[in-house]
């Protein structure tokens, strides 16, 4: 099986039942992608596959063959990604367990809607549960990140 993970082409063998999240966590020790439920509700395992947010606990590794996967570990390049920065500055995280998934979903949300409305934020993060923050600061982080990205591209 072959896929590009955080910019590196990886070839590996796993059995048919292996989930994408297991490949990331157990095979490549990319433990920033978390598991928080077993019913695809919590979004802790969210990663980008071909620039779209997917729940890696709900996909077989085989379904991700030949795709481009970005995990939280691969998001920062020449500096923190604006979404990462915004989550910290707006205090959009407390325990940090849901955070990688929240950040990846936000990256995808801002790809689709660079200047998202409240409803678009609600819809974009509907698949991610946070138990600590109360979401208000997460919403602030999404808006702040949108602003940062727009300022960068101008």
């Amino acid at each position: 099986m072959q896929m590009t993970i955080n910019g590196v082409v990886q070839e590996f063998q796993v059995d048919d039942q292996t989930l994408l999240v297991e490949v990331l966590r157990d095979h490549f020790h990319l433990t920033g992608t978390h598991i928080g439920c077993d019913t695809s509700q919590c979004g802790c395992c969210t990663v980008l596959m071909n620039n779209e947010a997917v729940k890696s606990c709900t996909m077989l590794a085989a379904q991700a063959t030949d795709s481009q996967i970005v995990t939280i570990e691969g998001l920062a390049s020449d500096g923190l990604h604006p979404v990462q920065e915004a989550f910290s500055q707006e205090h959009g995280l407390q325990c940090g367990y849901c955070t990688p998934g929240m950040i990846m979903s936000t990256v995808h949300l801002l790809n689709r809607h660079p200047n998202p409305s409240d409803d678009q934020i609600k819809e974009g993060l509907a698949g991610n549960i946070c138990r600590c923050t109360g979401y208000v600061n997460i919403i602030a982080a999404v808006k702040s990140a949108a602003k940062k990205i727009q300022e960068k591209t101008v």
């Binding site: 920033g32 019913t39 509700q41 920062a76 205090h91 325990c95 509907a126 138990r131 109360g134 979401y135």
Partner: protein
């Protein structure tokens, strides 16, 4: 190691917390992230029935299955001489009558008493093998009837869970002055009653409960990784259960993904994984699945509070009586009894001066998951009950709900105020807080907003709640921290209270920076094995900041005292002539100064000996009384029953605030956990004792957008019960939001003739009520 960070990461702007960089880049380390060579995997076999007699458990096929290394049943637990889980804090009536306790066995023996109760553990070389082998367990259980609520548990023909507990009643607890309260009700002009349920919840921190143990036979030493709320609580419980001495166990948790009360002590799985690691001689890891922890993490709340209030003709409260019911679940575990007796009684007068108080509480067993602490542990429940009752009484007898509160507040000049229920409130400005909340929320112009909403066929309501809670006094008589300077000049602070999202590293660092001027980068807080010789409380009861934080403050004072001598030595002057300002010692007369930084460097030992500025800080800090006034405004669409929160104001007195942004974060989180209880969450059992809400698909959690904005402000009324003057914040949000939201919902519905409803206020429930 998963180091995927670019080596030269440029940080454009400073991050908010010391914890954040690792958590936003995927470098955090939670229990399931640890991996050891030769590690094997555990899977639990749990009871599928709520109540039954175990006839036979046959695990011989499991032992022979592919990859299986160990199977632990109650026989192995007995052979290892393991004790039960701790009952925790138990209670006694003033007449000496003691509680019937029912401690939970590590693995079921004889009977199973709730769905999810551990029966056996299977350990194999891979998780898949352990799971597959567990399918081969042959369980023969004769099912018995189950009791799942008060009515069924205490009915005359109810089945009994524990042979030694008649009628499933653990204790009928009573407290307060019954005679004086009865008299107050006799003399009252107005009386109101209200039955208020605080439904059973499932705490659901995002990190799944998990434990990884390894055993070093050469030193007879166990190391465990597990999310916890402070290692001493975990160690104490493990010593009690396993008999392994505390100094032979190390508890490590670098990052903990939320706790909210459920992680205060050890569970069966902790003891079993340790036993398995010893028996097999390899590291053993168990990570619960979400569905599994739904039926095995301690549940929360599960209280019914029946309040009666007696008022005189002017509205002065003469007396308050509560008759409560506390569902303990199947066993007495950790804080269940404490909540159902002590925590719902000690602040039962709320923020009001009430001369006569009494309460009774029936603590009973059901065939459900044992109940322990969940955010607030009884504090939000009683705050909720009082504030609903006050609102109810105001409407029933025609009082203005603001004036009624104002008339009955404990006045600032009444402090210290002894409520004769176990609390002496030390400070508070209840009227000031309410005034500010009314101002900020534009409470007085609400009716025009209601009218405007009505024109759009929407029901708008506003709810006000004033609350107080008693934060934890601590499990030890003081909190200690050890400060030592590393060779790089970093002040390493060792403590016993570990964070689960609160940001201890940041706020303790801030205390140091404020006191000494040392930059945040030069301060490191660590809670782990190195601190084992210290004492202190865990993270719970809103306590860490003023408990361990006060010890940090004391540490700083000692470091400064010691550095003063070094500065005098360095400047060759008398220490008494020096004063400390902006991180340096100054001698104004000579215009001479030396910074603490320079002293740290100058006196750095060349060998491995201790730095002369190393010190141990400690402080004794009692309970505090965080309080506040929250106002919520909601709008209901009568066509669908959907209720939207349109405004939320939280004015809190938390004493001295150290990290305002983090404190607001705690308020937000607490408020939204209250929104969860008010609108979404409820653990529901069917009559046979099966949990119907067994996953996030059926147990609704609050999500992004349930609250778009919140106005949070602090009014600092300093407490003298600790040297920081802080009151704690962890549980305030919940205590304010449950009553504020509920009063708002009822306020919206009252014009339609609806005066009462139990949480959660789901759309179908509201819609149905509106249909009459």
């Amino acid at each position: 190691m998963n180091a995927h960070l670019p080596s030269q990461l440029v940080l454009d702007k400073e991050l908010l917390r010391k914890e954040d960089l690792r958590l936003i880049t995927g470098q955090g380390k939670f229990t399931s992230d640890w991996h050891y060579e030769g590690m094997c995997f555990a899977h639990m076999v749990r009871s599928p029935y709520a109540h039954g007699q175990i006839k036979h458990i046959n695990v011989s096929d499991v032992r022979n299955a592919l990859g299986v290394l160990q199977v632990i049943t109650s026989e192995e637990v007995d052979a290892a001489k393991m004790q039960t889980l701790p009952s925790g804090v138990t209670i006694q009536n003033s007449d000496g009558q003691a509680q019937h306790l029912a401690p939970m066995p590590i693995l079921a023996k004889g009977k199973v008493l709730f769905v999810g109760q551990p029966i056996a553990m299977v350990v194999a070389d891979t998780l898949e093998h352990a799971r597959q082998a567990a399918e081969l367990v042959q369980l023969e259980i004769d099912m018995l009837d189950a009791v799942t609520d008060y009515e069924s548990a205490l009915s005359p023909d109810a089945v009994q869970l524990h042979a030694h507990v008649p009628k499933n009643l653990s204790i009928h607890f009573s407290k307060g002055d019954v005679q004086a309260t009865d008299k107050a009700f006799e003399e009252a002009q107005f009386i109101s009653h209200m039955k208020i349920k605080s439904q059973r919840l499932i705490g659901s921190p995002m990190e799944l409960r998990s434990v990884l143990a390894k055993y070093d036979a050469t030193q007879d030493k166990v190391t465990i990784h597990t999310p916890n709320q402070g290692m001493l609580g975990m160690l104490g419980a493990l010593e009690q259960i396993t008999g392994i001495k505390k100094d032979q166990i190390e508890v490590i948790a670098q990052d903990v993904g939320g706790s909210f009360g459920i992680r205060a002590g050890a569970y069966s799985e902790h003891a079993l994984v340790i036993l398995a690691a010893k028996l097999i001689g390899r590291p053993v890891k168990w990570v619960g699945t979400r569905s599994e922890v739904f039926v095995s993490d301690w549940h929360g709340r599960a209280l019914e509070l029946n309040g009666s209030i007696a008022l005189d003709a002017k509205g002065k409260i003469l007396g308050l009586r509560f008759d409560d019911k506390a569902d303990l679940g199947a066993f007495t575990c950790y804080f269940g009894s404490f909540i159902g007796a002590r925590n719902i009684s000690i602040t039962m007068n709320g923020v009001y001066d009430i001369p006569a108080l009494s309460m009774r509480s029936e603590l009973y067993f059901t065939n459900t998951v044992p109940v322990s602490a969940y955010r607030g542990a009884g504090r939000p429940d009683i705050a909720y009950a009082i504030e609903r009752l006050i609102d109810h009484a105001a409407h029933e007898h025609g009082f203005d709900l603001v004036a009624l509160r104002k008339m009955n507040f404990i006045k600032p000049e009444q402090f210290p105020y002894d409520n004769h229920m176990g609390s002496v409130y030390d400070s508070g400005e209840f009227e000031l807080l309410m005034k500010r909340a009314i101002e900020v929320s534009d409470f007085n112009h609400f009716e025009s907003r209601r009218a405007k909403a009505a024109a759009n066929h929407r029901l708008r309501g506003i709810g006000l709640a004033c609350f107080i809670e008693c934060s934890a006094a601590g499990t030890t008589n003081k909190d200690q921290v050890l400060g030592r300077f590393t060779k790089d000049g970093v002040l390493q602070i060792l403590g016993v209270t570990g964070a689960s999202g609160q940001g201890h590293e940041t706020s303790f660092g801030q205390i140091v920076t404020t006191a000494t001027g040392l930059h945040a980068d030069r301060i490191q807080y660590l809670a782990g094995p190195a601190s084992k010789a210290l004492i202190g409380s865990g993270t719970g009861g809103s306590r860490s900041l003023y408990g361990a934080g006060s010890a940090v403050q004391n540490l700083c004072e000692q470091i400064l005292e010691k550095s003063k001598e070094l500065a005098a030595q360095h400047l060759q002057v008398e220490a008494g002539d020096l004063h400390f300002d902006h991180g340096s010692w100054h001698l104004s007369a000579k215009n001479a100064s030396v910074s603490l930084d320079d002293l740290i460097k100058k006196f750095q030992p060349v060998d491995a000996s201790a730095h002369p500025l190393d010190a141990q800080g400690e402080a004794s800090s009692g309970s505090t009384f965080p309080n506040g006034c929250h106002i919520a405004e909601v709008e209901i669409d009568p066509e669908t029953g959907v209720c939207e929160i349109v405004n939320y104001t939280a004015i809190d007195d938390l004493g001295v605030v150290i990290s305002p942004k983090l404190v607001k974060g705690q308020i937000h989180g607490g408020v939204v956990q209250g929104i969860g209880q008010a609108f979404f969450e409820q653990a529901i059992y069917d009559e046979s004792g099966q949990l119907l809400t067994g996953s996030f698909m059926d147990y609704a959690m609050p999500k992004t957008g349930c609250l778009m904005q919140i106005h949070s402000e602090h009014i600092e009324v300093v407490t003298k019960s600790n040297i920081l003057g802080s009151k704690g914040v962890g549980e305030s949000g919940c205590s304010g939001s449950l009553p504020a939201l509920s009063n708002a919902v009822i306020n919206a519905l009252r014009p339609k003739g609806i005066w009462g409803m139990d949480m959660p206020y789901t759309p179908p429930k509201i819609w149905e009520a509106l249909q009459g």
